[in-house]
Amino acid sequence: MSVSDLTPLSAPGGSTVRAVHDEFHGDLLEVSMGPHHPSTHGVFRMIVTLDGETIVKLKPVFGYLHRNHEKLGENTTYLASMPYTDRLDYLNSMTNNWAYAVAVEKLAGLAVPERAEYVRVILAELTRLLNHSCLAGFLMQDCGCSGTPLMYAFREREKILDLFESLSGSRMMCNYQRFGGCRVDPSADWLAGAQRLTDGYGAFLDEFEALLTGNEILMARTQGVGRLSSALAISAGVTGPALRATGVAHDLRKVDGYGVYPRFDFRVPLGDHGDTYDRYMIRILEMRESLKILSQALAGLPGGPIMDPKAKLRGFRPKAGEAYGRIEGPKGEIGFYLISDGSANPYRYRVRPPSFINLTILEDMCLGRTVADAVIILGSVDIVLGEVDR
């Protein structure tokens, strides 16, 4: 078997949807990477077919962390699903909460007080800082740069998690957003702490970038690796930094303008080549934009209630209907699709997981590269298995 035996289907961007070939061929070597492999970011497996050292086929295998999250959502009340959403992408519980809250608010037509919208923006941007810092650290770890960048990133992440803990009571499983607002009002001390963190984060990014961005080894290792064309990225539903690295200006904060994002002045960084280096660089630039949003949101935070006083959390029964709500999470478009039949539980509860859908083109990015490249390409896609497998 050779690569040309696999006939690609016609799809935009010269996509290569391949048929499965089961026949064994002596010249090719099939390697199972994972599920217990440090580079797969969790329990994820790739069945890689190698011709020499070149990847000719790569099939991801999922489901090691599958607990049928959507069925759990159908069997619990709307409010009781909120802490479950923390467990999807366990690095970014705040944005998961927000996406779920947006979907339920659309379904029931709830309003959100202005102060809560600002607090949500502050928390979402802190989450973005946390996620992108960690991702850059993990990516460096995948490149073989052991320890230092990841520990620097974790040092900063710890400061953000301290803020989350003092606000919500939990470092990672925050369970903070509610339909129609947020659970607790941040104190003046907390806001001062967030301001201090925002002021200091730029210095960390400078330090981080001095270490990495111009680094010759990193450039040689990542530039031109795992190229993705914009047409294929759009067709494959890739969202988030991986899509913007291919040069497509698509950021839901701008496109949908949900919450109070239209009030803030920020830019959407775009890549040029769609390779691994661009995906790294986009995240660094996005963090700088997040800092801009954070300082604007902290400066303009209005007073008032944090919860809609009319919102009813217990015994919440939205009228029959359906809604799809989505926000720009750090990993891409995270959406929730809910169908209500008028009872206390959703009839259908669907999560649109960005990292699962971003994996669709993993094979296309890895074909023709080596195993060592596959590791960093996977690292640059930014997956969390809690969300991939649900």
Binding site: S15, V17, G109, I339, R348, I357, T360
Partner: protein, 219 residues
């Protein structure tokens, strides 16, 4: 962007007799959807993707919904004359009928180029048992590849024309579809037949068990 009704008319002008129904959504979100027939779904999807004014280039979300068979009890009031000559009696008669269920696949389309959406497409199977095939939209939008596999895995919808239709979250060889409403969890996921049971039965023939011996463990 067009409303759903305008979009339907536009599609019907291009594909007469395509059989498109608007499914209204009564919630405040008011995201109405278009119910397509399996025969024309692929052509309509291609049109939605490539038509200059529409350009739905991103299929964001694909999911399944299970609508089980519904048993509906109709109550009708019948007036019966009293043979004894009294006033006529009003009797309630109940009749049962079964509304057949279906499996539904929902696609959320957005346009990145023109920044509009969502347009929601729905496809329904004829029933939930033997006629569960729908056309795959993976050749139109690549993002359907894993999500249709997931719908196949968890709901049991078979997508004709999908390049690689295998289970994705449950393991190969798993029988049921866990997201169906009538799914019953097995007592044990771990149990599998071993030769031990047969060996034990053979051994029993040679060595009759004493009267008070406990029974062999059932699998």
């Amino acid at each position: 962007m067009d409303t759903v009704e305008q979009l339907r008319d536009r599609l019907l002008a291009r594909f007469p007799g395509a059989g498109i129904t608007v499914v209204a959504n009564p919630s405040p979100a008011a995201q109405h959807s278009l119910l397509l027939t399996a025969a024309t779904a692929r052509d309509l999807a291609l049109f939605l993707r490539d038509e200059p004014g529409l350009q739905f280039d991103q299929c964001s979300n694909v999911t399944g919904v299970d609508w089980p068979d519904k048993e509906i009890v109709d109550t009708t009031k019948v007036t019966l004359p009293d043979p004894a000559g009294g006033p006529p009696k009003v009797v309630e008669q109940k009749s049962k009928r079964v509304e057949p269920g279906c499996l539904e696949v929902v696609y959320h389309l957005y346009s990145i180029a023109l920044r509009h959406g969502p347009v929601i497409l729905r496809l329904r199977t004829a029933n939930r048992t033997d006629s569960v095939t729908l056309p795959s939209l993976t050749p139109v939008w690549r993002s359907c590849e894993f999500q249709e596999r997931e719908v196949f895995d968890l709901f049991g919808v078979v997508f004709a024309g999908h390049p690689d239709l295998r289970r994705i979250l449950m393991w190969d060889g798993y029988q049921d579809h866990p997201m169906r409403r009538d799914y019953v969890e097995p007592d044990s996921y771990e149990w599998e037949p071993t030769p031990h049971g047969e060996v034990l039965a053979k051994a029993r023939q040679h060595y009759p068990a004493p009267a008070a011996a406990p029974e062999a463990p059932k699998p």
